[in-house]
Amino acid sequence: MFIVYSAMCLIPVLLVLSISLTNEKSLLTDGYHLIPKEFSLIGYQYAFSGTTSILNAYKITIFVTVVGSILHLLVTSMMSYAISRNEVRYRNQVAFLVFFTILFNGGLAPYYILVTKYLHLKDSLLILIIALLVSPVHVLIMRNFFKALPDSIIESARIDGSGEFMTYFRIVLPLSTPVLATIGLFISIAYWNDWFTSALFIENNKLYTLQYLLQSLMTNIQYLMSNEQASKAIEKSIGMLPGESARMAATMLSIGPIILMYPVLQRYFVKGLTLGAVKA
């Protein structure tokens, strides 16, 4: 049974891989197959054909993912730590404010107006990072983790004259690598896979992330061609636009890093799930 299920998970990915490696003409005449009928790298060549868009999308995506994840961990852990400490008088009020945002929200339209009209963050790199900067669920998971840390460690640091920030950076964070790794993993995947923020706010194609580039490619392959000459040359050499194989090549390129990181991702992920997912 698991063999069947595993096959269902794998076959679509393998199919896309095979399409990306097949000659465009063969795709049109023979259809899609799990093993390329006529092997060709033209799709990848086209995706990279001197054009800057895929490479640019990579750059934007990596930047947003790395910077966003670090900032997310910093802001979230500081906030969670503060509301996990019993000596902080207003911790429960703050926790309630955080928690309430899980239950209720103002909806998409007011958020959209706020960002575009009042904060003027439309078409900016900043909004791609800001959109996922704080997650109330992550704050609550981290708070629970910090609460379970032995109080005596923090108390003794304080007696030794360590300031609160010092204690937090030097003692609390190093003790919290499991939760930081798990949340970091979740949020970096979320940043990497975020197409929604771009779909809402990004129109300038220099700021396209991989996911959004991919989404736009589905309707229009032209997004890949920022260098017209190079792509025209390829088009001429095979007598057509390698639309299908190039699309699938772009898909493979966008999930490539996830597959490469997969062994690491998976290990921390399974470990981290036991942390707080069941009783977050």
């Binding site: 698991f2 299920y5 595993s6 998970c9 794998l10 679509p12 990915v13 199919l15 896309v16 399409i19 049109l28 259809g31 899609y32 799990l34 979230t76 730590y81 503060a82 400490r85 000596e87 902080v88 008088r89 207003y90 009020q93 703050v94 309630f96 404010l97 955080v98 928690f99 945002t101 239950l103 929200n105 103002g106 909806g107 998409l108 339209a109 007011p110 958020y111 959209y112 107006i113 706020l114 904060l119 704080v134 109330p136 609160e164 896979n193 197409w195 929604f196 809402l200 989404q215 589905m218 299908e244 699309r247 898909t251 966008s254 996830i258 998976q266 799930l273 036991t274 069941v278 009783k279």
Partner: protein, 329 residues
Amino acid sequence: MKNNMSAIPAAQKGIKRTGLLNRGIFLQEMVKRWPFYLMLLPGLLYIFIFNYLPMFGAVIAFKDYNPVKGVWGSEWIGFKNFEFFFKSDAAWRVSFNTIFYNLVILVLMTAISVLFAILLQETGSKIRTGIYKSVMLLPFFLSWVVGEYLVYALLNPDQGLVNGIRTSFGLDPINWYSEPVYWRFIMPLAYLLKQVGYTSVIYVAAITGISSDYYEAAEIDGASKWQKAKYITIPLLMPVVFIMLLLSLGKIFNGGLGDWGAFYNLPRESGILFSTTDVIDTYVFRSLRTVNDIGMSSAVGLYQAVVGLILVLISNYLVKKYDSDSSLF
């Protein structure tokens, strides 16, 4: 908000010390614990700006939004935006689809994940279990945009793999992207394929938490694998399952089970398929970005948020009745 409510009666009773808005205590606390409040500040500011301001901004649902006049300057029009939505065919369609898909997915996902979790524990071979887990988790890490391509590779009417197989068996190819009926099955199937690996692993974690004493005792009594699953694993897992179910119930209206991207990406925003693929979130997004109807979008968004809140409160009440330790609040 909570501060105000609890502060006023306290002050009236003359118990000033417990008043949360007591300025003296507040200042004292800030001076004494400033590092903690400094740590809180970025997150709190963020939540205020990006979560609370839009809540107040939700008043535009009752206004005729005019970009020049802004949120506060636009004219009040009462419930006109809502009227417009609820009189359209879309209201029933998106509400029904939202509830239908979420319920179907929730039930199937729970049943399949529990089954998988039990079977994964039973496979015996650690290596094989590890491989299965890795493969099952893979789709969870892929976005729905990638999902769109995966589904398209299978269902492309001319070249897709599924139609290719159909024709090789002498069956007529099906034009998947123009037949809404099939999407009633495609959507839950795709969703399950992405999520089941993840939820199974959660349940595996829960099963691992069950004391091995039970199993050892059962083995001594000569219990079979099936009996152990039926009389130990399932009953002990039920509380977790039940609570996860109830908690997800609350999220059904609010952004679905947390991931509506499937409904936006997989059917490729094809109008022909809306009867079976359009849910509240896709509708809100479309009215905002494609149709550019802020009034409609905000009204539907608010409708969603309010019904979502009510569902959360109800399911929390149910959880509390079942097991008071596990409720949200």
